[in-house]
């Protein structure tokens, strides 16, 4: 009996311990979001999204440069990263049972653990130094490299989930293998792959370190790809470490917008993974 009570107490103890840890984990997360909302919400208005920064001392103005810059950078990184990542994943899943496949898989796994600043330095030496200037392209490449492992491995994993019976169904209809891969295999895995891409983009959109010495930052509405561009994370960093009250306020607002952006991407990813209703197209 004594034994039973002790075990029951252990059970209760363990349960409370787990609950305690969950609370501990949620508190910082929730307070970050809470703090962000309180401090950032006031700064969100139309001008914040559409107007350029005002010189120090003047109040008002916005961060149109950073929003446009982030859009350009994310767009570029998608343009570089998605085709390479998806097709690389296709190679791994469909043809990757060899030494090259193993090597690429290993490299991708290592790359996904490499600190993002390292990627920034790499792109700095390879692209920025040879172009002799910071540029949107360099930033896009840095973000693309960061996205690559995730996109490639997600694509591979999802294509592996596509049953071989579908590949054989396609081949048995006299469809060439490459068309079976594009029309059947990739298409069947597409919702999941899109999710993986969204998550990778969401992560890239928030990266600061690799942009510091690639896209650099700009207070102008730079739309040329070979010029430095601003971006939300870098702008937040610059404003947050500045001594100006007005800039702090805007940094909070920018941070909140960034979180909202990531949130939207994540929600989009979830909607995409939800299997389309069997009644659907």
């Amino acid at each position: 009996m004594e034994n039973f009570r002790w075990r029951k107490n252990k059970d209760i103890l363990a349960r409370w311990l787990c609950l305690g840890m969950v609370v501990l984990a949620i508190v910082p997360l929730a307070s970050v979001l809470f703090d962000l909302t309180i401090k950032g919400f006031g700064g969100l208005n139309w001008a914040f999204f559409t107007e350029m920064p005002k010189p120090v001392g003047e109040s008002g103005g916005g961060m149109a440069n950073a929003f446009a810059g982030s859009a350009i950078l994310v767009g570029l990184s998608c343009a570089f990263g998605i085709p390479v990542g998806v097709l690389g994943g296709v190679y791994l899943a469909e043809f990757g049972e060899n030494a090259l496949g193993k090597a690429v898989r290993f490299a991708a796994d290592v790359m996904s653990g490499v600190p993002s600043i390292t990627v920034g330095i790499f792109v700095y030496t390879v692209i920025v130094l040879s172009m002799r200037r910071f540029s949107a392209i360099a930033g896009g490449v840095a973000l693309a490299i960061l996205m690559l492992p995730t996109v490639m491995r997600t694509t591979e994993e999802l294509l592996r989930l596509v049953p071989d019976t579908l590949r054989e169904a396609g081949l048995a209809l006299g469809i060439p293998k490459w068309r079976v891969i594009l029309g059947v295999v990739l298409r069947t895995g597409a919702p999941g792959i899109a999710t993986g891409i969204m998550l990778a983009v969401a992560r890239a959109a928030g990266e600061t370190a690799p942009l510091l010495f690639t896209a650099f930052g700009s207070n102008f509405l730079a739309l040329k790809l070979d010029q430095p561009v601003g971006s939300l994370p870098v702008q937040i960093y610059t404003y947050a470490v500045s001594p100006y009250e007005e800039w702090h306020r805007q940094a909070w607002a920018a941070a909140l917008s960034l979180v909202l952006l990531v949130l939207i991407l994540n929600i989009l990813a979830r909607v995409l993974t939800r299997q389309p209703g069997k009644q659907g197209r």
Binding site: E97, P163, T165, L166, R167, E168, A169, G170, L171, A172, L173, G174, I175, P176, R179, V180, G183, V184, R187, T188, A190, P276, K278, Q279, G280, R281
Partner: protein
């Protein structure tokens, strides 16, 4: 002797079967037919391996034109491997090899430089488990062999209707052609897969245990269908149901451990098996 009973009593109780399902009269056809059917496909000393495991030991089998040929035998004896050699689907499995010859209209389909893609359009296949493309509508599933290959049929609507009609599915789906192919029942999915194969107007149709994942009613439908298609197409059907072989086929081949033990007109094979192993198998003494 259970199978013998099955096949002989069929004729005595035709009322229990759908009218088009009058297999017994059709089964008499090969002998009654005025012209002997020609050989559509022929294998010669066909051997096949998975890695080092030799699963076909040299099979020579004719496949007669516009006839239904059934392959029976205990599971693992190589039936699937055999028909997958006929449309060169065996070679897509890593480590799979084959040797010997497979002739289609007297031409070797394994001859160097021959493209398996073209062969597979002439020799269609239906698999054990229904495998419609889950991302495509019913209509697009039927057209998959065209569209996914980058080809455009001249009159897709007619083609879809014709293929679905041949597969006895048209009446059930004609109002919902845009529904997802995966939303159909198992039996309907299998008939959709048959329609998909027929839309290419193949010369030969290979069917690998097409009813094993279906319930009895769906099975009866598909069997009836095979019987009808047998008048127009050359069909090879794998089955481990001897009753099914007796019901739908003109000729039957018994495979055992990678060897062809016996090949004969279905009636003869079931009533007067020549080999001891065939007799043991059809009387259910092993399997």
């Amino acid at each position: 002797m259970l199978t013998l009973l099955e096949t002989t009593t069929m004729e005595e109780r035709p009322m229990t079967q759908p009218p088009t399902f009058a297999a017994p009269t059709a089964r008499a056809e090969p002998t009654a037919a005025p012209v002997a059917p020609s050989v559509k496909m022929q294998t010669e000393a066909l051997c096949a391996w998975f890695g080092k495991n030799k699963v076909l030991q040299g099979i020579s089998l004719p496949i007669l034109e516009k006839r239904v040929t059934a392959l029976i035998g205990p599971s693992g004896c190589g039936k699937s491997t055999f028909i997958r050699c006929l449309n060169r689907l065996h070679e897509v499995i890593p480590g799979a090899k084959m040797d010997g010859r497979v002739l289609l209209d007297n031409e070797d389909v394994y001859v160097r430089g021959m493209d398996p893609v073209g062969l597979r359009r002439r020799v269609g296949m239906v698999f054990q488990r229904p495998n419609p493309f889950p991302t495509l509508s019913i209509r697009d599933n039927v057209l998959a062999g065209w569209k996914l290959a980058g080809l455009r049929p001249k009159d897709p609507d007619t083609l879809v209707e014709k293929a679905l009609n041949q597969a006895a599915l048209w009446n059930e789906v004609k109002d919902s052609l845009n529904r997802n192919g995966a939303s159909l029942s198992g039996g309907q999915q299998q008939r959709l897969c048959i329609a998909r194969a027929l839309a290419l107007e193949p010369e030969v149709l290979l069917m690998d245990e097409p009813c094993s994942a279906l319930d009895p009613i769906a099975t009866a439908k598909v069997e009836e269908l095979i019987h009808e298609l047998g008048q127009k197409y050359t069909i090879v059907i794998v089955t481990h149901s001897m009753q099914q072989a007796a019901r739908v086929s003109h000729h039957t081949a018994f495979l055992y451990m990678g060897d062809l033990v016996e090949y004969n007109a279905t009636d003869a094979l079931f009533t007067r098996p020549a080999d001891r192993r065939t007799e043991d198998y059809i009387t259910g003494r092993f399997g």
